[in-house]
Amino acid sequence: MKRKLGALEKVDADLPNLQHKIRNDPSSYQDDFVNQYSQYSSLYELFISSPTTTDDTGLVRLRDLIDFVSHVADCYPKLTPTFANDLTRLLELHHATLEAELRDKIVTSLVLLRRKDVINSTALLNTLWPLLISTPSKSLRALLFQKILADLKNSNTKSTNHKLNRSVQTTCYNLIAADLANPKNLWAVKLTREMWRRQIWSDAKAVSIMELASLSHDAKVVAAGVRFFLGGDQEREEAAEDDDSDHEGGIDIRQMKHQAGINKKSAKREKDLKAAAAKAKRKQKKKNAPSPLNFSALHLLNDPQGFAEKLFGQHLQPSQPKVKLNLEQKLLVLSLVSRLVGLHKLTLISLYSYFIKFLTPKQPSVTSFLASLAQSTHNLVPPDVLEPLVQKIANEFVSEAAAAEVASAGLNGIREVCVRQPLAMNETLLQDLVQYRKSKDKGVQMAARGLLNLYQEVGAEMLRKRDRGRKAALKLHAAKEGLTLESDARRFGQVEEGGIEGLELLEQWKLEQGIVDDEETEAKGWENWDAESDSSESEGGWIDVASDGEDIDVYDSEDEKEKEAKKRKLASIDDEKENVATDAAATPTDTASRATASLEPEAALKRSLLGTKNLLTPADWAKLEELKRSAAVTAALPSAKRRKLAEQAKAAAQARHADDAVTAGDIAGLAKLSHKSTREEKIAMAKGERPDENGRFGAAGNDHRSTTARRKEKKESEGKSTTNKEKARKKNFLMTLGKAKRKGKMSLVDRGKVLKQHVDRAKKGGRRGNIG
């Protein structure tokens, strides 16, 4: 005891030292703490009695003492019951006039008390959040926001703290709901967005905050809310990826092992290495773990139709809206509305007529409008609403007189609309537009070709005969003959039915094997499965729900014709079955060879009826899997591969994910081809200069510099100087002379030695060897 006090005497006025000692042995230093605490309380009283006139020394002393007490308060909970309350009161009453450093210290002390569990998160956030809204100081706001975020993050690390999250979300919601025109609402939006990005909040409540923000009456808040819906999910994914890559970059285990081999060995280093290895392993494990499934904000909306209507009705439609948005913000809102309409297939008829006045080439950022239009189109939009829009685009953009960029953008826009609703196009216009594939300009040409390709797929009969292409023509022909069930002429509202992948392969195989689906074979198919399953199903056996005879017929005058065709087709299939059955019995080898060769074309033309008549037995499924595998092998053969690749690429281009947005870049993409670069631009590209503000040249992948220049840049970016090759090339000529002369004079034995050394070195992998 005496020794300890003696040590303390030496360092006189050293609070950090006392703090350290208290941490180690709280009960022995209680008296010292009481002294300091009473000093703190008198200074606190002094400050409270005259908050504005307290002098510098007093403030500094108070700051130091607050720091000290907050660090050790958890050791003496009985002595410091009011400490946190004092700080909160100080902050609440005097935050506007407090000296900045003291104010920040109080905030950090409160956070420290939270970390030491002296106060709980709710109390802390209830103190900090109102301050964030009310304080005029920018630096304090930044500090508070950071602390609030950190605290929320910390309280959610081990497990999600639902109670806290809900209370903070409610606070955010209420802030916005209380006064929609308040610009301070931005903080609620900011917090929500940040929490969303970190995947701490990923529920509908957070989305509802943003929904409310998007409908608020302040332009900045509206823009922030809308931006969240448009980019929040992407941001979240990026953040998650960043996290992963960060962890990878954290420890280079190979490097550490290598260094452990070189450096002096010590117990500490060995321990470090082990810890690093364990950490890396943990990271690896975490990386391989399945990522949590997160719903996109757009899918978590409670009432998308209502939201879209309100957004449109509040910000876009009225001529005198409550909030004055500029063009950029308007475009954001429009983009969100159209995204919602496209994604949820909403019906918002007035939206389409809204587009009309913006679809002229003179309109600023018209490509964004085109993209929004395309986005808001889906197969449930009435074609007669879209038709005038397509017509207008065609009239305004696509003509011989229009600039190539304009025409290609227009064609592209039309194509994007028609991908989603092919019925929006009429025959004359289509045939007219397709003519542009003969244009001299590359961009226009490609855009027109895109449109042509699209209609070859979805509406070949609208094209002129010679434009239809071989495949589409064949299909049409088959339809006319009544060979296929589907007619390509789709009607409004028609929905494609789902199917089982590879089912036609199974049907084909059954046909070829001569297996008839009757009760007996089916029972056989179930046999093994029943043995294996642990089923508690009913024992009564399986009942055929749809047997051959019991077709439910719905009479419809329009369907009559189709039905006829169907019946005829069924009959033909039955005939075929019989024929094949006899053939198969006679020549089994022949069928085997046919099995692979015949699969594709026929399968493509027919729609399988197999799954609709009987339940597939487990045996059928197993066979299906096998057939799919063998078909994959066939498809991997070189000749088939190329065809498949081409088809895949096309499918990928057409069937983009429904969640993905159409951007202005997609519309204007081909216009870049129409642009001819000037001499200056070409020179700049060759020099590898960055593009100017217009982004005219030298796009990221468009590097026109020489290979050497690029390599050199790469080396420099890696922090290296020159390659050995470059050194050799630059070597002074005179220096090489001597060696050349000497080489010439070398004796045969010496030459042999040199060659042998060279071979050895090559084997070893260079002078230093290949070990490192």
Partner: protein, 353 residues
């Protein structure tokens, strides 16, 4: 070859002499270092130059403002100047002494020893009557200083307290929140421990060494001595009735200003925060914060909070140390005995706050 030619050129450049031209500034040398700098403010050592000496009034005003100066010596000099001025011009001092006291007391916690010593000198020169009205704030500062880690500040605080008690004893002990809080501060600096388990925190574990009487600076008898003296005068002021009863005093003053009635209520108040007792705007006070302006009340609180017993026990132990401190402690004991003479010690007082 390319690079070597380049190097040659570079090398040649090193040895070329710069050409000097008439009317042009001399070119800077290659190793020239700029010594210019930017400053927010430039401090001139001699800030006022005047042929006529400023008036005393102005000088004092200036020096009072210098009390806030950043430099230690400047503060010290200002204090010294004011002290001299007061000593020289006892009659007709042109400045409010109370104001000076208020400003100067901000230096009670000053980090420089010289400044604090100078401050003590100034304090001894101030008339006690003039400062009465301003003592609330210095009292807080003194209490903060009493428990400071720095020995010098503690020393100054005790000195200042003793000085204050000498002139304004009654005022000090009866102002808001002073009596109990000061006693508690004394208790903690002397490390007198109550037997009350509520205050001792952690009783589990072997490290809980009974810290009987080992106050801060126990090996420094000088501070302990000063501490004990301060305690003695504090207790004396608080527990022992000074002069006559307040009623008698009131009667006397009334007799002095006979034809007038209740004059003191119509003049400037003589004590600091005259309406503090009413506590009009603050939160409700606890037992610690309450003001006790009657001797009996103070005695009661002293006993009821268990402080009397703690102090008596602590002082008794301190007395046993002997020497100077022991003698001072016996003085305290005497005061205690005198102050609490009619108090029933055996009666058990339990007060929960």
């Amino acid at each position: 070859m390319g690079s070597s030619a380049k190097r040659k050129k570079e090398k040649k450049q090193d040895f070329q002499k710069p050409k000097l031209k008439v009317g042009k500034t001399k070119p800077k040398a290659a190793n020239f270092t700029s010594t210019s700098f930017k400053a927010k403010s430039i401090v001139l050592t001699q800030s006022t130059l005047s042929t006529t000496a400023p008036s005393l009034d102005a000088q004092i005003l200036h020096n009072v403002s210098l009390l806030k100066s950043k430099s230690d010596s400047q503060r010290k000099d200002a204090l010294a100047f004011i002290t001299n001025a007061i000593m020289e011009h006892r009659k007709g001092f042109p400045y409010q002494v109370g104001e000076i006291f208020k400003e100067a007391c901000k230096l009670l916690l000053d980090r420089s020893d010289g400044v604090r010593n100078e401050l003590l000198k100034l304090l001894t020169q101030l008339p006690a009557v003039e400062v009465t009205i301003h003592i609330a704030e210095p009292l807080l500062r003194i209490r903060a200083g009493m428990t400071s880690l720095a020995k010098g500040i503690r020393f100054t605080s005790y000195d200042a307290l003793i000085w204050l008690l000498k002139g304004n004893g009654e005022e000090v002990v009866s102002s808001v929140g002073t009596w109990v809080k000061y006693l508690q501060s004394f208790q903690s600096v002397f490390a007198f421990h109550a037997k009350d388990p509520a205050i001792t925190t952690n009783t589990s574990g072997w490290s809980n060494v009974p810290t009987s009487v080992q106050p801060i600076g126990s090996n420094d008898s000088k501070v302990l001595m000063k501490q004990t003296q301060a305690l003695e005068s504090f207790l004396r002021a608080g527990l022992i009735q000074s002069g006559e009863d307040s009623e008698v005093l009131a009667a006397q003053s009334a007799a002095r200003s006979f034809p007038l009635w209740h004059t003191e209520y119509h003049t400037m108040p003589t004590r600091s925060k005259p309406f503090a007792r009413l506590n009009l705007f603050g939160p409700p006070r606890s037992a610690e914060d309450e003001m006790y302006d009657d001797v009996d009340e103070r005695r009661r609180v002293f006993a009821e909070l268990g402080l009397y017993r703690t102090f008596a026990h602590g002082i008794n132990t301190l007395k046993k140390q002997g020497g100077e401190v022991g003698r001072a402690a016996s003085q305290v004991e005497k005061v205690l005995a005198e102050g609490m003479v009619d108090w029933d010690e055996d009666k058990e007082y339990e007060v929960n706050f």
